[in-house]
Symmetry: C2
Subunit: 345 residues, 2 copies
């Protein structure tokens, strides 16, 4: 029982979905790829389905297959990577909806599964996934005759509202799709916040559901508490951890907690990182090791049994700042060894 505890507040998650849904008059789906941004795609999707979410997005057909197991029949499961070689059985047997990215995928889908639902993914300038304008111009007649259920694209700079790329991509998407009688989707969380021009018929929030920026008003979803497994008193001059990078400058109390970079606590954050003992901020002492972290708890009023790394005082985006990354990566890094505890339904 030296297992760190990751608590996931499903009520907060559902509140975030409702708040993001309220930004638009259109359908609001949910992105649960990468195992629900590390929080458990099945639990996350089932909680959202109770609030009426009927469409979910994943990255790979394999993720879609697992999600279908968790959700049962009914909700639509859309696959961003489209219809890859080897996906046909999963798509057919589990009723997945591939977002077709290329002429090759279109041919594969129509030949293998004629009449099976699909969407179309267009590239409006990110140059990552989807058909480009010229490719789409050549294919659209054939594609539209097959009755796609959705036409979508993805914004490259939606987290920066002032970036002119947003308007360029919006215009490109409109030029590729205006006048087509198929539901359209352009926006994830960032795009939802850009306003109604970006909403079209369906929005697809991801990070905002899980409490991360750019949705600044999100309710926090995740708490990560680490068990203290040993406490020791240091004399000035004593060192802690690998490479002796922490040197005690005063009589110091060090707590060793049972978690480390193998749990997704990025090693690079150590010099800036702290943990909370109640309301007392306690700096990490020395390097983060694979399964253990030393923490300077000298200023805590009593010896803590747990230290909180992620929570109200230190949200996911604070850890992202310490690590030189974004909240999304903090979430998806959270490891399998953490005990996941769900609150709410």
């Amino acid at each position: 029982m030296a297992q760190a505890k990751l608590t996931i507040d499903l009520d907060a998650l559902r509140a975030n979905w409702r708040a993001l849904s309220a930004f638009s008059d259109t359908e609001t789906a949910a992105v649960v790829k990468a195992d629900g941004y590390g929080l458990g795609a099945g639990r996350v999707a089932r909680a959202l389905a109770r609030d009426g979410v009927r469409r979910f997005f994943v990255a790979l057909a394999e993720e879609g297959a697992q999600l279908r197991d968790a959700l049962g029949p009914g909700p639509e499961i859309c696959v961003f990577s489209g219809h890859m070689a080897g996906d046909t059985d999963m798509i057919r047997d589990l009723g997945l909806v591939p977002m077709i990215n290329s002429i090759d995928q279109m041919l594969r889908h129509v030949e293998a599964l004629p009449g099976a639902p699909f969407g179309v993914q267009l590239d409006s300038g990110m140059n990552r996934l989807g058909m480009e304008p010229a490719e789409w111009a050549a294919l659209r007649g054939i594609a539209l005759a097959q009755n796609p259920v959705l036409i979508m694209s993805h914004l490259a700079c939606a987290d920066e509202p002032e970036n002119p790329m947003n308007a360029r991509q919006l215009q490109c998407f409109r030029e590729m799709t205006d006048g087509i009688d198929v539901p359209r989707s352009l926006s994830a969380t960032g795009g939802i916040l850009l306003g109604k021009d970006y909403h079209f018929d369906l929005t697809r929030p991801g990070i905002g559901l899980y409490g991360g920026l750019p949705f600044a008003d999100a309710s926090p979803v995740v708490t990560l508490a680490l068990p203290v497994i040993q406490v020791r008193e240091l004399e000035p001059g004593e060192t802690v951890g690998y490479g002796n990078t922490f040197v005690a400058r005063r009589p110091t109390r060090i707590a060793t907690v049972a978690a480390g970079y193998a749990d997704g606590i990025h090693r690079i954050m150590a010099p800036k990182a702290s943990m909370m003992a109640g309301v007392t901020r306690c700096p990490v002492a020395g390097r983060i090791s694979m399964d253990l972290i030393g923490v300077d708890v000298t200023d805590a009023p009593e010896v803590p049994e747990w230290l909180e790394l992620i929570g109200a005082h230190q949200p996911v985006d604070t850890l992202a700042d310490w690590s030189g990354t974004i909240g999304y990566e903090i979430l998806t890094s959270l490891g399998a060894r953490l005990q996941r505890v769900y609150r709410g339904e």
Copy 2:
């Protein structure tokens, strides 16, 4: 089938164990904590058991329980975090051997499971886990009367052979244990390479088994290949990915591969990272996103179907350099979504 493929060469792993074992005349165990450094503790341990490894180390009792399922009865499974509250049933029912870290743990173990095997973990200066000299002096009579199976400590700076901390810890460990008739262990991979003074009765290699530094002669164990799911041609001036950070300076061919930071490919490595198309080095183009990475494959002689991120041309420690971390973290970050394929036995 847009799943990235992580190939784990169990023959190379076993060769690394034999090579590390040959450095000493003493018993050589294996550290398989953090799910075998991300490679699958059960598969790794079973492969090593075939070569005669009879003792394995894990971080937590929960890991030990899973490993016992994989190994069956027989091999000894030692738990670094010791005997924590709540561990008693796992320790008894699954025959785990806790490395006792404190007087509290000693009392808990002896009271709950009198006669059950245990080891003692001493702190020789790392100030992370284990009993300090004063604590040990008070307890050693009682502890030795209970017949510990092992007395161990851990080096803080073994990766730096010249660091005087190594000799200080060696001396401290000797002062705490000389004359005691119980098997002793001080060294993991780094300590094994420091020479015979550091070997005592048992060595416990970890990272060296998996092909990482500081064991420079290790055979590479891991290959990570990422499937190309789309290829596109860019005109000069076109951009790729989030934030438009890649701008084409020439007519450019971009391959999008289906893997990202959610698979443990650290986002921070993007500006330095490359992938191999055969023997052609292809730089990452723009940011690493959650499930997708753009790669500039213009110089590849043909359009690749797969790109290799980890392999003979780019070992784990190269990725560590790109990310500002160590090979250990590259391995333990490798995500659950990767398809794990085992070679050898």
